[in-house]
C-alpha cells in the first residue's frame, strides 16, 4: 500500500478561533496582532483583500483598520492552544498516527484509506472539524510531507476544490506542479529561490526534475531531500524542516508508557532542550508554549486522558532554562496520576526574531559551545539551586516589561469567569426589543 499523509491546517487559525465565539465578526475582516500588539500575525481573507500584509506593523495599518471596520485582536494564546488541542483530539479519531507540526498544522497518516476514498475522507474530516469546533480547515494529501504541504497550499488557493487536494497520484502531480511557483515549496525561500530562478528553475515541476546532486550543491542536503520528496520519495523528518514563523513543535511517542510525573518532567525537559537548540539555530524566540500529553487511543482497557496547557514565559526567550521551566510547569499542570501516557510534546507558536523581544543568549553559530555552557549551567544550578548562576544576558534583574494585551478576547474555553454568555432574554437593539 502506498504511503499517504494528510496535512490539515486551520484557515487563518487565530482569526477563526476569535470568530467561533464572536458571531458579530463572522463576515468582517479580522486580524490578530503579535505579542505586545506589534504586528498582524493572522488575517482573514477579507483582511488580506484590504492589502494587510503578514507581519505588517500595526501602527502602519491602524488607520486602514479603523476605516474598514477591521476587528483587531491581541493574541489570546490560551484560547488558540485549547482550540488546537480540540483539533488534534479529533484528528486522532480519524488517523492512526498524528504528528503535530505547529499550533494549527498536523500530519495525519492516511495510508490505510483506499486511494479512491481519500478525497471524500478528507472532506468528511473537514466538515466534522468545522461542525465540532467551528474552525475551517484545509486538507492536503500526498505521499511525502513536502507534497502534502504543497497539496494543502493548492487546496487553499483553489476554492473549487472544496478545501481538499490529493497529490498521491503522479498524474495529478504532473498537472499541478508546473503551475506553481518554486517559492511555494517548503523551505525554499529568499536566497534559495533567487539561485533557482537564475538557473531557470521557476516552477515546482522544474525543481522536481532538476538533478538531485545539483540541488544538493545549491541548497545543501535539505535541497536534495526536497527534490526527492517532490518525486514522491519520503525522506524528510519534521525536525529537519526549518521552523516557520508560525511555530514548531517537538513531540514524541514514548517507547513504553510514561506513568510517573518524574519521567514525564524528564521527557518534556528533553523536548524543551531540543526546542531551545532549534530556536537558537534559527535565531528565533518564543514567549509561550503549549504542553500536551495523552494516553493511547488504541488501548481501550486503561483509562484515557488527554490534556494541554498554554504556558506564558516571563519574556520571549530561546534560553533552554526558560523553556525547560515552562515545559515543566505545563507538564505539572496537566499530568495526572493513574494514567499511562503514550505521547507528549511541546508546541511553540508565533516565533519572533531573537533580539526583538529580549536579547538572544547565544550566537546562532555557536551551538556546541552553548550546549556545553547550558550543561554546566544545569549542573551548577542543580547543585546550588535554580537561579544560583544566571546568564548575564538574561538579566539578573528581570526587565520591567509589560506585555500589552489591549484587545485580547476572553479566555472563553479555559476560565469559568470568561465563558461566552448566551443571552436569555430579548435581543438588545433588535426590532422587537422591549423594556
Amino acid at each position: 500500500m502506498s504511503r499517504a499523509l494528510a496535512l490539515v491546517d486551520g484557515n487563518s487559525f487565530y482569526c477563526s478561533c476569535e470568530r467561533v465565539f464572536d458571531p458579530k465578526i463572522a463576515t468582517r475582516p479580522v486580524i490578530v496582532l503579535s505579542n505586545n500588539d506589534g504586528c498582524a500575525v493572522a488575517r482573514t481573507a477579507e483582511a488580506k483583500a484590504l492589502g494587510i500584509g503578514m507581519g505588517e506593523p500595526y501602527f502602519k495599518i491602524r488607520e486602514l483598520c479603523e476605516q474598514n471596520k477591521v476587528a483587531v485582536f491581541s493574541s489570546n494564546y490560551t484560547l488558540y492552544g485549547d482550540m488546537s488541542a480540540r483539533l488534534n483530539a479529533i484528528y486522532r479519531e480519524w488517523a492512526p498516527e498524528v504528528e503535530i507540526y505547529s499550533i494549527d498544522e498536523s500530519f495525519l497518516d492516511f495510508t490505510t484509506i483506499p486511494e479512491r476514498d481519500r478525497l471524500a475522507y478528507g472532506r468528511d474530516l473537514r466538515a466534522t472539524v468545522r461542525q465540532w469546533t467551528g474552525i475551517p480547515t484545509c486538507v492536503g494529501i500526498g505521499p511525502t510531507k513536502t507534497l502534502a504541504k504543497l497539496a494543502n497550499h493548492i487546496a487553499k488557493k483553489n476554492d473549487d476544490l472544496g478545501g481538499v487536494c490529493d497529490l498521491t497520484d503522479p498524474a495529478v502531480r504532473d498537472r499541478w506542479l508546473p503551475k506553481i511557483e518554486v517559492g511555494e515549496v517548503w523551505g525554499i525561500g529568499g536566497a534559495s529561490e533567487r539561485k533557482l530562478l537564475q538557473l531557470g528553475i521557476e516552477t515546482v515541476g522544474d525543481l522536481r526534475d532538476m538533478p538531485a546532486r545539483s540541488a544538493r550543491q545549491l541548497m545543501t542536503v535539505v535541497g536534495e531531500k526536497t527534490v526527492l520528496e517532490l518525486r514522491g520519495i519520503s525522506c524528510m523528518e519534521l525536525e529537519e524542516l526549518p521552523p516557520q514563523r508560525k511555530g514548531c513543535a517537538v513531540t514524541r511517542s514514548f517507547g513504553k508508557p510514561v506513568k510517573t510525573l518524574d519521567a514525564m518532567l524528564e521527557a518534556v525537559s528533553a523536548y524543551a532542550t531540543r526546542a531551545g537548540e532549534k530556536l537558537r539555530r534559527h535565531g528565533l524566540e518564543t514567549s509561550h508554549m503549549v504542553v500536551f500529553m495523552h494516553t493511547s487511543r488504541f488501548n481501550q482497557r486503561d483509562p484515557s486522558h488527554s490534556a494541554s496547557k498554554t504556558i506564558h514565559l516571563a519574556e520571549s526567550s530561546a534560553d533552554t532554562l526558560d523553556l525547560i521551566d515552562a515545559a515543566k510547569r505545563g507538564a505539572r499542570a496537566v499530568f495526572r496520576e493513574g494514567f499511562a501516557y503514550a505521547k507528549a510534546g511541546i508546541i511553540m507558536d508565533d516565533l519572533i526574531v531573537a533580539g526583538s523581544g529580549s536579547r538572544p543568549l547565544f550566537d546562532a553559530h555557536d551551538r556546541e559551545k552553548s550546549a556545553a555552557l547550558m550543561t554546566a549551567l544545569d549542573a551548577i544550578n542543580g547543585k546550588y539551586g535554580r537561579g544560583a548562576l544566571v546568564p548575564a544576558a538574561a538579566g539578573i534583574k528581570r526587565r520591567e516589561w509589560q506585555t500589552k494585551f489591549d484587545r485580547r478576547s476572553p479566555r472563553y474555553t479555559t476560565r469559568l469567569e470568561a465563558l461566552p454568555t448566551a443571552l436569555s432574554g430579548w435581543t438588545t437593539g433588535a426590532e422587537n426589543s422591549m423594556v
Binding site: 458571531p23 458579530k24 463572522a26 488541542a85 480540540r86 483539533l87 483530539a89 479529533i90 466534522t128 461542525q131 465540532w132 469546533t133 467551528g134 483509562p303 488527554s306 495526572r336 472563553y412 474555553t413 469559568l416 469567569e417 465563558l419 461566552p420 454568555t421 448566551a422 443571552l423 436569555s424 432574554g425 430579548w426 435581543t427 438588545t428 433588535a430 426590532e431 422587537n432 422591549m434
Partner: protein
C-alpha cells in the same frame, strides 16, 4: 453509603455497588468500583463540548436560570425540542428550538414573557445543542454564581 469528593479537575465519587445494608456488610464491598467521573457523565464528546454562561431568565420555566453554566455539544444535530445556543442577528442567545412547522422556530420558556417572534428575514445559526445545565443550589463562594 459513602461519598468522597476530590476537589481537583478529576472529580470522583466512589460509591459502593450495593445499597445500604442493615446486616453484615457484603465481603464484596471491600472492592470499590472505579470512581464516577463527572467529566465522563456530563461531557460525551470532549473536543466538541464548550461551557456557556446564561445571561437572563427567558428559559426560567425549564429550570435554566441567570448565571447557570450550560454544557453545549456542537457535534449533535439539533432536533425538535432541543434547547440551543442560537446566533440571531449576530447575538448569542439561548432558545428552545422547534422544528415542527414549516419554518424553524425559536422560543422562550418563560410564562411572564411574550412569545418570541423572529422577523421574516431573520438569520439563524445554531451554534450548539445544550445537553445539560449546571445549576448550583447552594451559593458558590468566589464562583460568581448567585
Amino acid at each position: 453509603m459513602f461519598i468522597r469528593l476530590k476537589f481537583e479537575a478529576e472529580i470522583s465519587v466512589p460509591m459502593f455497588e450495593h445499597g445500604l445494608c442493615a446486616g453484615f456488610p457484603s465481603p464484596a464491598d471491600d472492592f470499590l468500583d472505579e470512581s464516577i467521573d463527572l467529566n465522563v457523565l456530563l461531557v460525551r464528546n470532549r473536543p466538541a463540548t464548550f461551557l456557556w454562561r446564561v445571561d437572563g431568565s427567558s428559559m426560567r420555566d425549564v429550570g435554566i436560570f441567570h448565571g447557570d453554566i450550560l454544557v453545549v455539544d456542537r457535534s449533535l444535530t439539533p432536533i425538535d425540542g432541543d434547547v440551543v445556543v442560537a446566533i440571531v442577528h449576530g447575538e448569542r442567545s439561548l432558545k428552545r428550538l422547534r422544528l415542527d412547522g414549516k419554518r424553524p422556530r425559536l422560543m422562550f420558556e418563560n410564562a411572564d414573557m411574550p412569545l418570541f417572534e423572529l422577523p421574516e428575514i431573520a438569520e439563524i445559526e445554531i451554534w450548539g445543542v445544550v445537553v445539560c445545565n449546571i445549576h448550583w443550589l447552594r451559593r458558590q463562594p468566589g464562583r460568581g454564581v448567585q
